[in-house]
């Protein structure tokens, strides 16, 4: 059923210190966005980017599993999937989204746009759980099944979970900051909207005991590149992401963490 229509108002979402003002005249959809991104709501008066969102008519198809297409057309990014079409211009800082009534569509658009913004700043979104422990952030990277959810679930009570699925990494001078994200995985729990300097990244491997092992730099960069979220078929961005991964590996310690799934693993980490 279509949502009731009201005057266009904005919901602001702040992720990684970047504020997106999402304007839509569909009040029920605004409520859905507010619920979905509770904890990440920002101030619409000071947004960095703005999107106008319109919803599909109910009769139109919306396939979330259709192929994703991300490309540049005349300086404007065009993002397409079965359940949304979006256009975004980095210079005007404004975009337009036409999507189905679903939080997954806007979630996907936000991930893509953040990844495009971060690529130009030497940062990235990466398949990794992350947490703050003792004012230091740790990233736990791996493909599905590597243990991101498990390591998140085992985090001690004094740890702040930033995400169990998609970590947000921003460069600041010669260090990197990890930010919380609302992009949840199996825990279905959004992260805390906090950030801390990144202390180490661990590539997860399940084993029979807990141990931290060094990893050769070239292998580390290769593994990191496999886990960085990258949507655009754009040669210039490929170069930026590659160089960002190399820079990251030169400044942040990268290890292999072999772990047995119980809470003692966190004694090894911190």
């Amino acid at each position: 059923m279509m949502t009731p229509i009201a005057a266009t108002e904005a919901v602001s979402i702040e992720i990684g210190g970047t504020v997106f003002a999402l304007h839509t005249r569909h009040s029920v959809f605004r409520g859905l966005i507010k619920d979905r991104y509770a904890g990440f709501l920002g101030n619409s008066l000071s947004s960095d980017f703005a999107f106008d969102i319109d919803l599909y008519e109910p009769s139109e198809s919306s396939l979330a599993d259709a192929d994703l297409e991300v490309k540049v057309e005349s300086g404007e990014w065009v993002l397409k999937r079965g359940d949304f079409t979006a256009r975004w211009h980095p210079d005007t800082r404004h975009g337009y989204i036409r999507q189905s009534y679903s939080p997954y569509a806007i979630d996907c658009v936000l991930r893509i746009v953040h990844s495009l913004i971060l690529a130009r700043q030497g940062g990235f979104l990466v398949h990794a759980a992350s947490a703050i422990c003792g004012e230091k952030a740790f990233l736990f990277s791996g493909v599905s099944g590597a243990g991101k959810t498990t390591i998140s679930r085992l985090a001690p009570p004094d740890a702040t979970l930033l995400t169990d699925e998609i970590s947000y990494v921003r460069r600041e001078g010669n260090r990197y900051l990890a930010y919380g994200t609302p992009f949840a995985g199996e825990l279905a729990r959004v992260g805390e909207n906090r950030c801390a300097p990144l202390s180490a990244l661990f590539f997860l491997e399940k084993g029979v005991q807990n141990k931290i092992e060094p990893i050769a730099p070239v292998e580390a960069i290769q593994r990191l590149l496999r886990n960085i979220l990258f949507f655009a078929d754009d040669p210039e961005l490929v170069k930026l992401v590659f160089l960002a991964a190399c820079e990251f590996a030169s400044l942040v310690p990268l290890y292999r963490l072999v772990f047995f799934p119980d809470q003692r693993v966190w004694d090894v980490i911190r």
């Binding site: 730099p217 070239v218 960069i221 290769q222 590149l225 990258f230 040669p235 210039e236 490929v238 170069k239 590659f242 160089l243 190399c246």
Partner: protein, 104 residues
């Protein structure tokens, strides 16, 4: 046999790490790691210096290898990278691809 001139493609990103060179194709995101000898050829690929001169003047000198074997290995390496669009190969100097050996 015709002389080969080799130049680094512009559609790549590369970074040296220790003695190894990491290269990523910007066209298809393929990732390559070159060993020390291959890195030396890569860095010498300026579009102007014939491959045979790179092999004799740099590879054989620096790595103490037999010229015939070094040329064979270099040909194979160049063919492999050119198939992925990482190196551009021509029987003429590649003026438009000419770059200083310090770049990339």
């Amino acid at each position: 046999m015709a002389e080969k001139y080799i130049a680094r493609s512009k559609a790549i990103a590369a970074r040296k790490l220790g003695s190894e060179m990491m290269i990523m194709s910007a066209m298809d995101s393929t990732f390559f790691t070159l060993n020390e000898v291959a890195s030396a050829i890569w860095q010498a690929a300026d579009g102007r210096t014939p491959l045979s001169e790179i092999v004799v003047g740099q590879i054989c000198e620096e790595f103490d290898v037999d010229p015939e074997r070094a040329q064979r290995d270099a040909d194979r390496f160049v063919d492999q990278l050119s198939r992925h669009g990482i190196l551009v190969v021509s029987d003429q100097p590649l003026v438009e691809f000419s770059v200083s050996s310090e770049s990339q």
